[in-house]
Amino acid sequence: MSADGVVAREPAESVTLTDIHPHIQQMAFEDLLEDPVIQKYLHELVGPTGMPVAAAPPDGEVTDEELAEEMGLELNDVRRALFILYENDLASYRRVRDEDSGWLTYLWTFHYENIPENLEEEMHRLLDGLEQRRSYESDHQFYLCEVDSIRFEFEEAMEFGFECPECGSPLESMENSRLVEAMEWRIDQLRDELNVDREAEAEA
């Protein structure tokens, strides 16, 4: 600290982690990976065994062997995760032939910049699913077996004489208004966030 109380700045040299430890790959897309929803999304895609690969995308190109070695993972698990990311536009590869061995090497690049667009698409799909389900819930009456927690549509319940086919206990009329209200609440939120125009769709 200098005399006037100002903290002395570090020299503005650009020394990165990879300069000091060339074997440590720098991680990219840190902003995105801080979002817990995005972490959950990646986990959903690649599963727990693929998560070490998906959660720490290196900057630049990398081979599957390098990733497996650095992370101490089975090569097959690494490859499986990479191909899932590839199928979801989140990674790409180019093949290079080793001149000595004649073997093909896959050089992978992560494309997590596509995550927001993928999730935007998922928000539209969720909105579709919610709207279809809301119609179904509003258009049907339901009966419940409180013992087995099984729900029947009115027609089914009538066929069974309003008795549970599993345990024989009486089927009770079931109120689903809370479910429908919750759906409408999330539908409104999604429409608002995605700028889906109610009227424009009604006209189309």
């Binding site: 840190e30 902003d31 995105l32 979002d35 929803v37 995005i38 959950k40 999304y41 959903e44 895609l45 927001p116 667009e117 999730l119 935007e120 998922e122 928000m123 799909r125 969720l126 579709d128 699913g129 919610l130 279809q132 389900r133 179904y136 809370r178 479910l179 209200e181 919750a182 759906m183 609440w185 999330r186 939120q189 999604l190 608002d192 966030e193 995605l194 700028n195």
Partner: protein, 117 residues
């Protein structure tokens, strides 16, 4: 340059423009400069810069009979938490088809109705 670095580099009026686009969820450029209380030329320059930095999207639009642009936030500004119900992610992720009557979606809806709503 990451998105947060790009944002940190903005001048005050550019930052105000970005906030306006995000708050409105999308606005025509002809309303944009009026709301910001700057000239149309200045408004156009701000919108261009924000687009160049990848902070907003700018599409051709016709509005009140005039050619203008529609300025929209980028996908990364969306609230992805809307995919969640409780701690469960949308069950349609990773599925080819949307099945609105699947058990997984029912579970998601139960979480929504009894945990969040």
């Amino acid at each position: 340059m990451s998105a947060s670095d790009a944002e940190a580099s903005l001048a005050e009026d550019e930052l105000a423009g970005l906030e306006l686009v995000r708050e409105t969820g999308g606005i025509h450029q002809s309303d944009f400069w009026k709301e910001l209380d700057v000239s149309s030329r200045k408004g156009s320059r701000i919108a261009e810069k924000l687009e160049d930095l990848g902070l907003i999207e700018r599409e051709d639009a016709v509005y009140n009979g005039h050619n203008t642009y529609f300025l929209a936030p980028t996908a990364k500004d969306l609230d992805f938490a809307l995919l969640m119900a409780g701690d469960m992610l949308s069950p349609f992720i990773g599925e080819e088809e949307i099945d609105p009557n699947s058990d997984a979606f029912t579970q998601w809806l139960m979480n929504l109705a009894y945990e969040e709503y």
